[in-house]
């Protein structure tokens, strides 16, 4: 993509067709992502109905405060991402860069908190495998809960890391003035992706952290 903002790739007739294609491509990709996470959500649902006590009990071993803070951080990052998309559409370069950086910082903060939580779980021997130890008779099914916890939040974190890489690329491009009110498709698409990853967390948080709250 060159500096002249309305140039389109050779296979397209015009910039509008290119925008339409990119937009549809992102939505199709997100459909794929829904199915990808869907496999784990399905497994979670089945086991939670099979082992409701163990899932509720194990859920109390998660740090509700860190989880809540992280939820707020992530929703905040979606807000700044939405503002970044808005700035891009208005062609406002400086606010665009600023909001993208803010989104990046909030995303990194989320990951930082997440890894703190992971570290605590390692300390508490709650990582599935030979080191797993869990007091009480619910230990076996609790290990399944933590398998889901690590698989689901791990896949989510992986998507966050990819999102941070995409944001970094956007910040560099935005800083060079590659986006304008006419051409800002990449910002819009990364925005969609970022909101998707956010929504996945919005489902993960209650399913993993809040299941057993009523027991305390």
């Amino acid at each position: 993509m060159s500096d002249s903002s309305i140039v389109h790739a050779h296979q397209f007739d015009d910039a509008e067709q290119q925008h339409e294609a990119s937009w549809l491509g992102m939505w199709v990709f997100l459909a794929t992502e829904v199915m990808f996470f869907g496999g784990m959500f399905l497994g979670y649902t089945i086991y939670r109905s099979t082992y409701p006590e163990a899932f509720a009990d194990a859920s109390n071993h998660l740090d509700i405060w860190l989880g809540t803070i992280n939820t707020a951080v992530l929703i905040g990052s979606s807000f700044t991402m939405a503002l970044a998309v808005r700035s891009a559409q208005l062609g406002a370069r400086k606010p665009l860069v600023r909001f993208l950086i803010l989104t990046l910082v909030l995303g990194a903060l989320f990951l930082g908190i997440k890894f703190t939580e992971y570290y605590a779980k390692i300390e508490e021997h709650l990582v599935p495998g030979s080191n797993f130890s869990y007091a009480g008779p619910l230990g076996r099914a609790a290990q399944i809960f933590f398998s889901f916890y690590f698989a689901m939040t791990g896949m989510h974190a992986l998507h966050m890391i990819i999102g941070l890489a995409l944001l970094t690329a956007l910040i560099v491009k935005a800083g060079r003035g590659r986006f304008s009110s006419v051409y800002n498709t990449p910002v819009e698409l990364v925005g969609l992706y970022w909101h998707f990853v956010d929504i996945v967390w919005i489902f993960l948080f209650p399913l993993l952290y809040l299941v057993g709250r009523h027991l305390q």
Binding site: F12, F29, T32, I46, Y47, P128, G129, M155
Partner: protein, 547 residues
């Protein structure tokens, strides 16, 4: 029409040379060639495993390989053929090459993504080859837990990582096709003027994007279980191995339709061209592709009739599986009706197409046997199943693939293959195939189980027939490899439309220019305008220059 091609006309093959111009190409036509090389390689690797299997089964004793080696052979045969040959074969080679040409576009919507898909495919293939070289994997291509996740001490993780990676190549190809078909059709190319090949690939792409991510996460969970001790399928913790089977077949049954739907698209093109007739019931064939894609997602439980799933679930899955027969039969009847009163010629692609219809009918009808609860319990995990799905995957999908390769070979290379040899190969393949797999129906019905390297002596005659057929089949597969390569240099120059076929891909030169059309086409009539509309041009403003 078939004007002589000027000596130095520039086209996608001679626009530049050198390894780099191929490995970094973003031209969908060249990427199709990259895939062609890849899938051909894996086809012969998978064929090598099959050869060893058939040699072992020549005698009732285990005299060629041990049980462990035999388990690895059928696993690697299945993994290679399914994930690295059948799934990418028609979509990634012919679909890649033809979809932009057929809809009148310069390329796919995302050319760089298209190239990336190929590299992802090759990377996944390398993982799987590494697993094979390191000693193989013995779980069967189905990777059933807990054997795959806990007990097998072969290279399961490496193999499933390879399949996981390759899955993304399928997803990106499907995404590219869907977006291209939606947004890049030429002026006048309405949805109901699309060639049925394109409809079939659209349906396939839906399965690619909705099914593949499920197998990806499922195999990822198996790998995480092996590598890090996660316990989602582990029965020791109360995990449910059946959950794995559900998730696995949720993709892997639709994957059967990934393998067959593109082939059905090819057959629709071949039957119309070599009958010189408009296709019978265009709308029905188009929608039957979509119906197969959608119904395909609702039938996975028929793989689990004896796995301990609820009998009520089995009854529903049985019924739904039978429903798939309806759109499949619609296609077969419509192709047959297209043949009726057509002026049929028996060129090699048509021989493959006719072979397809017969073999697909047998494969499809025996599928109904297997969808029937009582019969399935008798023939479950026997050679009846093996014969059934080879009739679909080899008898149908590979026949369609070869028919398509022959049909569009002049477009891809600008040269014709040697017709008499090609007809001979098609006949050899048909005969060899039936001799290989028909006896397996009988073997299975008599009770010979799959996945054993030894068997009771009374089964030997039928096994010898099968192995004999496999050697004939091998000759049939090597022949096209030889003469197609030969024709690249020595074949007769084809001209732009050697079959006098309809469809935009025949309205450009052979081989096409990098941007596919000298003048971007406008479409003024529906697909398959054979017969009355034979003389109408697709271009209202006359033929483009340079034709």
């Amino acid at each position: 029409m078939n004007g002589p091609v000027e000596e130095r006309r520039q086209h996608y093959l001679n626009v530049n040379y050198g390894l780099k111009s191929w490995l970094l190409t973003v031209d969908h036509k060249r990427i199709a060639w990259l895939y062609l090389v890849g899938v051909t390689f894996f086809f012969f690797v998978g064929g090598l495993f099959a050869t060893l299997i058939r040699l072992e089964l020549l005698t009732p004793q285990g005299d060629l390989v041990q049980a462990e080696t035999y388990n690895k052979l059928f696993t690697m045969h299945g993994v290679t053929m399914i994930f690295f040959f059948l799934i990418p074969s028609i979509p990634a080679v012919l679909g890649n090459f033809l979809i932009p040409l057929m809809i009148g576009a310069r390329d796919l919507a995302f050319p760089r993504l298209n190239l990336a898909s190929w590299y992802i495919y090759i990377l996944g293939g390398l993982f799987t080859l590494a697993a094979a070289a390191a000693g193989g994997v013995d779980t069967g291509w189905t990777f059933y837990t807990p054997y795959s996740s806990i007990y097998s001490n072969t290279h399961v993780a490496l193999t499933v990582i390879g399949i996981f990676i390759t899955g993304f190549s399928s997803i990106l190809t499907g995404l590219n096709f869907i977006v291209t078909i939606h947004t890049m059709r030429a002026p006048g190319m309405t949805w109901f003027r699309l060639p049925l090949f394109v409809w079939a690939h659209y349906a396939t792409s839906i399965i690619f994007i909705l099914g593949t991510p499920v197998i990806a996460i499922t195999l990822a969970l198996v790998a995480l279980e092996r590598l890090f001790g996660l316990g989602i399928f582990n029965p020791e913790l109360g995990g449910d191995p059946l959950l794995f089977q559900h998730l696995f077949w949720f993709y892997s049954h639709p994957a059967v339709y990934i393998m067959i739907l593109p082939g059905m698209g090819v057959i629709s093109e071949l039957i119309t061209c070599f009958s010189r007739k408009r296709v019978f019931g265009y709308d029905f064939i188009a929608f039957s592709s979509l119906a197969i894609a959608v119904l395909g997602f609702l039938v996975w439980g028929h793989h689990m009739f004896v796995s301990g799933q609820s009998v009520y679930a089995s009854m529903i899955f049985s019924l739904l599986s039978m429903l798939v027969a309806i759109p499949s039969a619609v296609k077969v009847f419509n192709w047959t009706a297209t043949l009726y009163k057509g002026s049929i010629s028996f060129d090699a692609p048509m021989l493959y197409a006719l072979g397809f219809i017969g073999l697909f009918t047998i494969g499809g009808l025996t599928g109904l046997f297997l969808a029937t609860l009582g019969v399935d319990i008798h023939v479950h995990d026997t050679y009846f199943v093996i014969a059934h799905f080879h009739y679909i995957m080899v008898g149908s999908a590979v026949m369609a693939y070869l028919g398509g390769i022959h049909f569009w070979w002049p477009k891809m290379t600008g040269r014709k293959y040697p017709e008499p040899l090609a007809r001979l190969a098609a006949v050899i393949i048909f005969l060899g195939f039936n001799l290989t797999f028909f006896p397996q129906f009988v073997l299975g019905y008599l009770g010979m189980p799959r996945r054993y390297h030894v068997y009771p002596p009374e089964f030997q005659v039928l096994n010898v027939m099968s192995t004999a057929g496999a050697s004939i089949l091998a000759v049939g597969y090597v022949l096209p490899l030889a003469y197609l390569i030969w024709s690249l240099r020595y074949g007769v120059v084809a001209g732009m439309n050697p079959w006098k076929a309809k469809g935009l891909e025949w309205e450009t030169t052979s081989p096409p220019p990098t941007d596919n059309f000298e003048v971007m086409p406008t479409v003024v009539h529906e697909a398959y305008a054979y017969g009355a509309a034979e003389s109408q041009a697709v271009y209202p403003a006359g033929k483009p220059a340079n034709v």
